[in-house]
Amino acid sequence: MKADIAVIDYGMGNLRSVSKAIEHVAPAASVVVTSDPAIIAEAGRVVFPGQGAAPDCMREIDARGLRQVIIDAAHSKPFLGICMGMQVLFEHSEEGDTACLGILPGTVQHFPHEAMVDAAGNKLKVPHMGWNNVHQAAPHPLWVGIEEGARFYFVHSYFVQPTSPDVIAGFSHYPFPFTCAVATGNIFAVQFHPEKSQNDGLTLLGNFVTWNPGASETACDMSGAACA
């Protein structure tokens, strides 16, 4: 059976939360957690989650022969990257000096130790763990019903730095502004965990399962130029 929504399973972390949250917002949809490239290729929508370290993620993606089907999905159907599933869309991660999928131009960097102090002089911990405000850099169908500055749950030590500011859909502060959501064409990707962010997270997932990227929006290639 063709899946409405495929959650890509490449052995990196807990996918049950992701699939349960999607089933919660789309009770009529068939949600399949899978590492089968054929099912992913046929699915109507793709969710690309992930936890753990970038080198392991890339190794597991290739070990399962998923690289091409992920790239194809990111160019062709509603595609939601979450956490590590956002980071590895970029070209390179500082974590383990890892070449990533290169679907989006940019890099992934560690929170710089020397910058981790708040305005009052207190040390800021890494990983960045907990509920932080997400500022919407641009309107997007996935933000509908979510207040500007709403809090989402984060847990990460690395953050993305897109080459093109045009793809930035959201940012947060820790202590400096960093990109926590990107959007281009049929791709939407977030650093935070919507599946763990209570009502606002469920709203975002609900928006994703009904999102139809318009015909005027085109998927973005490495040039990043045509991603209006």
């Binding site: 990196m12 972390g13 807990n14 049950r16 939360s17 349960k20 949250a21 919660h24 936890q51 753990g52 370290a53 130790h113 981790m116 207190n122 040390k123 800021l124 911990k125 890494v126 990983p127 960045h128 763990m129 907990g130 509920w131 932080n132 405000n133 809090r151 749950y153 984060f154 847990v155 990460h156 030590s157 502060h173 820790y174 965990h193 599946e195 763990k196 962010s197 209570q198 997270g201 469920l202």
Partner: protein, 251 residues
């Protein structure tokens, strides 16, 4: 700005929450799923389940509970108690836990912390440290505070960070159950010694204790059981109090 977290802790044995929880009109005071749902609605930032089941025969019950909670409560869930090997971590994560807390087994076998964090990522490995003051320092205790290990708590915290712990759950065994507030000096010393987040635990008796834990103890999160369970204070009441005292919270 990142919010300081409030985490209610539920003790579970044989599939039931013990110590009772005193929500208004709670139909079943021992039902972990209903209690989790109520805490979620009340604004808890995360939930921690501590499995205190003594016999290993009944350990699988916690997996069913986590599965049921994870299907309808969409905030981070931490589970601790009886985690002895990487396979235990895997089973809990597969059931829907977001983080697994390792306590005694980290002392018995520190390599478990490294193996589990290498395999599943530091973000899901919490090391629970039960510390008690001994003379001019604090030592790590196991078995609910009954057995000393001779390990210095601050050195141990650093070691757990270096082995891949993503967070530390620090309980003062001197204060646990006393309602006299966190051991602020211990909390501050460990928070300053490591770069990973610290959850302060043990001794909360009123809302000012939560404020002190963050401001004086420099905790990133505060865990409490009885003050919430018995309805003395609500989660939202605690958060409003913390906010009035200049602490960033999720309201």
């Amino acid at each position: 700005m990142l919010a300081k977290r409030i985490i209610p802790c539920l003790d579970v044995t044989h599939g039931r929450v013990v110590k009772g929880v005193n929500f208004v009109e709670l139909k079943d005071a021992g039902d972990p799923v209903e209690i989790a749902r109520r805490y979620n609605e009340a604004g808890a930032d995360e939930l921690t389940f501590l499995d205190i089941t003594a016999s290993s025969d009944d350990r699988d019950l916690i997996l069913h509970i986590i599965e049921a909670v994870a299907a309808e409560v969409f905030i981070p869930l931490t589970v601790g108690g009886g985690v002895r090997e990487v396979g235990d971590v895997q089973r809990l994560l597969n059931a829907g836990a977001d983080k697994v807390s390792i306590n005694t087994s980290a002392v018995m076998n520190p390599q478990l912390v490294k193996d589990a964090s290498d395999r599943y990522g530091s973000q899901c490995i919490v090391v629970a440290i039960d510390a008690k003051r001994v003379g001019d320092h604090w030592e790590v205790f196991t078995h609910g505070g009954r057995k000393t290990t001779g390990l210095d708590a601050i050195d141990w915290a650093k070691k757990m960070e270096s082995l891949g712990a993503g967070e530390l759950l620090l309980t003062s065994m001197d204060r646990d159950g006393t309602k006299s507030g966190f051991d602020l000096e211990l909390t501050r010393r460990i928070s300053d010694a490591v770069d990973i987040p610290i959850i302060a635990s043990g001794g909360v008796g009123n809302l000012q204790h939560l404020v002190d834990g963050v401001k004086e103890g420099r905790a990133d999160a505060v865990l409490a059981a009885s003050i919430f369970h018995f309805g003395e204070y609500g989660i939202d009441e605690a958060k409003k109090y913390m906010k009035q005292h200049g602490i960033e919270v999720r309201l």
